[in-house]
């Protein structure tokens, strides 16, 4: 498997924007699922089951490979508390990417496979000179999981599966402006995460042709950056202040949180499949974002910013209808609770409850198939006031109102052996 070279080639692509799940989670792992509101835990649609529920992989008859890519177009409006200027993001497009390959005997009970996907990520570039510039000017958070997976059908009705989730690549680039008494400097924090390992396991139960049920658990991985680079720009080296802002190294840890999901599938006819999923994301792990600096920056070796996220649920509903032997159409939707409490909204995750609508289509020609999907995500309008920030001790961010919409078209290709 030329995984390494594949990673190198696609490394720049493998990322997400605050996409189809709360916080900095990205759940765009399979094009068919994307078209159906992101359901998949209780279904056995294709190789993307390795992400949604490894237990279902043994029930996926076809062995093969599939690749998928999405493009996220995020558009945001922000108005500071009391302000009158609407700020909009500098447009950026990011392309979460996934790859699956599964193997196994044609009629056997085993399936093995490898999955590559991007479960967390965020890319946002704020307008120049916006009110929250000292909190954030831009962020690029990337993660790539590589997951070798095995699945076994214990009976015709029950299968189990598990994969080792390897944080093969994780990177953060966070930039903000530094308030000086009479001007602004700029700080860039850039680092790569250590390799870390977790797991993804699931059980799939299909008691009849018309009903299936799945349970999935993906464990937490702490993405740990050591020896990241701290670089200052825009500070006059002759200024008496310059010595307070030395280029140095930083370390930080970001939890890539655990998720527990339960899903059901209902197949009233041969042609119609309906999925319902509930995800429980353990965001309460994300208490604070702490940077530790090798040399003091403006007199301090640490920077701590409160997060205090809370666990959050996502509800998903989607279906597909096989119109002809080749054509399948899909639709779905999701409601996603924000893990971010009132008064804790930060520019790097300008989060609120989300409502998504999705559409999708597939066309199969023999062993070859192509999938399209598009998600329309509306992140609710959300305001926080300066008094809330004062009350919570979260004045390192900015008071105001955020509203974000995201459109995420995607395309996938698959080939069955």
């Amino acid at each position: 498997m030329k995984l390494k070279s594949l990673l190198l080639v696609s490394g720049a692509l493998l990322t997400g924007t605050a996409a189809s799940a709360g916080g900095y989670q990205v759940t765009l792992a399979g094009q068919k699922n994307n078209g159906m509101g992101g359901v998949g835990v209780g279904l056995s649609l294709d190789q993307a089951a390795m992400f949604y529920n490894p237990g279902a992989l043994a029930m996926v008859r076809e062995r093969g490979v599939q690749v998928g890519v999405n493009a996220t177009f995020a558009r945001q409006a922000f108005v500071a508390e009391g302000g009158s200027t609407q700020r909009e993001l500098r447009n950026s497009v990011v392309t979460p990417f996934n790859l699956y390959a599964s193997f196994g005997p044609a009629e056997g009970k085993f399936r093995a496979g490898i999955a590559v996907y991007t479960p967390f990520g965020s890319t946002l570039k704020y307008a120049d000179g916006w009110e929250g510039r000292t909190s954030l000017t831009e962020i690029e958070l990337q993660s790539v999981y590589v997951q070798p997976t095995v699945s076994y059908a214990i009976t015709d009705q029950i299968s189990v599966g598990a994969g080792l989730t390897v944080l093969a690549y994780g990177a953060v680039n966070l930039q903000r402006d530094v308030p000086l008494p009479d001007s602004f400097g700029h700080i860039e924090l850039d680092g790569e995460a250590e390799r870390k390992v977790g797991f993804n396991a699931g059980i799939f139960f299909k008691p009849s042709e018309k009903f299936s049920l799945g349970i999935n658990y993906r464990s937490k991985i702490d993405a740990e950056v050591k020896d990241g680079d701290v670089t200052f720009t825009g500070i006059d080296p002759n200024s008496v202040l310059a010595s307070r802002f030395p280029n140095t190294k930083f370390s930080a840890t970001l939890p890539l949180i655990a998720t527990t999901s339960i899903g059901i599938g209902i197949m009233p006819t041969d042609k119609l499949t309906i999925g319902i999923d509930v995800n429980y994301a353990e965001w309460s792990e994300y208490k604070s974002l702490e940077f530790t600096f090798a040399d003091p920056i403006n007199g301090s070796n640490t920077s701590v910013s409160k997060r205090n996220y809370e666990d959050a649920l996502t509800f998903r509903l989607g279906g597909q209808y096989k119109v002809t032997e080749g054509l399948t159409l899909r639709a779905g939707g999701a409601y996603d609770e924000s893990p971010v409490r009132d008064g804790y909204v930060t520019p790097e995750t300008p989060d609120a409850n989300r409502v998504s609508g999705t559409i999708g289509a597939s066309y199969a020609m023999g062993k070859f198939g192509v999938d399209f999907s598009t998600q329309f995500v509306s992140i609710s309008k959300r305001s926080q006031t300066q008094s809330q920030l004062v009350a919570n001790g979260t004045q390192d961010r900015v008071a105001g109102t955020y509203k974000t919409n995201i459109v995420i078209p995607g395309i996938g290709l698959n080939y069955s052996f």
């Binding site: 500071a80 009391g82 302000g83 009479d182 598009t374 920030l389 390192d396 109102t401 919409n405």
Partner: protein, 485 residues
Amino acid sequence: MISKLFTKSAPFLALLGLALTGCQPDLEEDIKPSSGTADFSRYIAVGNSLTAGQADGGLYLEGQLNSYPNLLAQQFRSVGGGEFVQPLFTEAQRNGTGYLRLAGFTATGSPITAPVNTALALRAGATAARPLYTKFTEPINNLGVPGIRMADILSTTYGSVTGNPLFERITPDAQSNQTYLARVAASNPTFFTAWMGNNDVLGYATSGGASTAPASSLTSTTIFTANNNQLIDALTANGAKGLVATIPDVTNIPFFTTVGPSFRATLETPQPGLPNGVPGLVIQTGSAAGPASATTRKQIATADIRNASGVGRQLFTLTSSPFLGLLNQRTGRAWRYVYGQSGQPAAGFPLFLTAYGIDTLQTFGTSMGNPIPSAFVLDDAEQALVRTATTAFNNAMIAKATAKNLAVFDVNGFFARVATNGIVTNGVNNTTQFITGNLFSLDGVHLTPRGYSIVANEMIRAINQQYGASVPTLNSNEYPGVKFP
């Protein structure tokens, strides 16, 4: 093949494009500015140096441009505000009265300031003792006059060449005996801000209670109340709406809080023969002449000097800073400086020393004969007088404003919170710390552009609340603190 692919995918791309254009959220409906029940078409600002935009110990063009009335007028523009004229210095005379700049820091981190005295706005006939400035006699909206007290608003000589040079500057020659009150009454505003009264306590406080000059005395509450009532009556005579700002407790400004803590730390450092450091000092108190006695001298314990955490009572002025290092030396330098400030002929210095019972051959600051001058210390008794006057003046201003249904910006309450907690503006910390706190300029009394923008925002909040308006606030971080070299 390629073109076929294009024709096939064109409708999809078009649909996508449509979705993306419609995707941009719009919050502008939420932020429509409005004037509420107020009419901002003719805004007049009444007040003192804070209103004029004074900073860094002087009035100069950049400070004027960042005055809170100018910032307010800029915000009023989106809700029907009209033209706002300030008596700006010209570009050629941009340094106005002259001011201080930050030149650097000593090895121990103390700031070094340097005077800026080029491009001044002096006119012919000006002397060091009596500056006269290039006149600006066009009609103006910003009537802020540095130095003016509530007690001065009825004076008929205040705009003359023997009065206040900065009021004289904006007073047309033909009406040189016009009082400040009359000038205000003739301004005919539809909306006003009035922030007067600071100098009715500040002059007394910054002189350490050491002077008998009128400008350095506390105004009587009776006069203050009567004059304030007249001022507000004049402003509201034609039904104008407006805002009244109270005056802060000046004992929390860097002018009084910067020097004491480090001086106390120096005194507490153990020395040979003094394992616990210097236990206490002798200061001169009050303004009365006379030999060393219980009424003209005061012993203060080192532990009674207010430190950075606010423990202790005695406050040292920013002006004392160059002289405190002379402690225990047999020197008259501090007295020479104090005498020099009075503007009296140098020949009178020995008589001055005799009158106040000063013997410069004794040790400075530790002997009854050579105490620390009263002008350098605002002691606990003087602070009590300042606080009593501040409260009485604020009560008078709030009562009148309430009776006239005006908006009130409670500067005293606001500043007390800022002095304790600082204030964060869009993620940036600001405190009352001298130089590094961003709020106070190099004189330790007047504000930086950042400080003035925060004042403007607080006023906007009070105005919006009182008049149901939504005047947009400023992003204070776009306004700098102290300029660093």
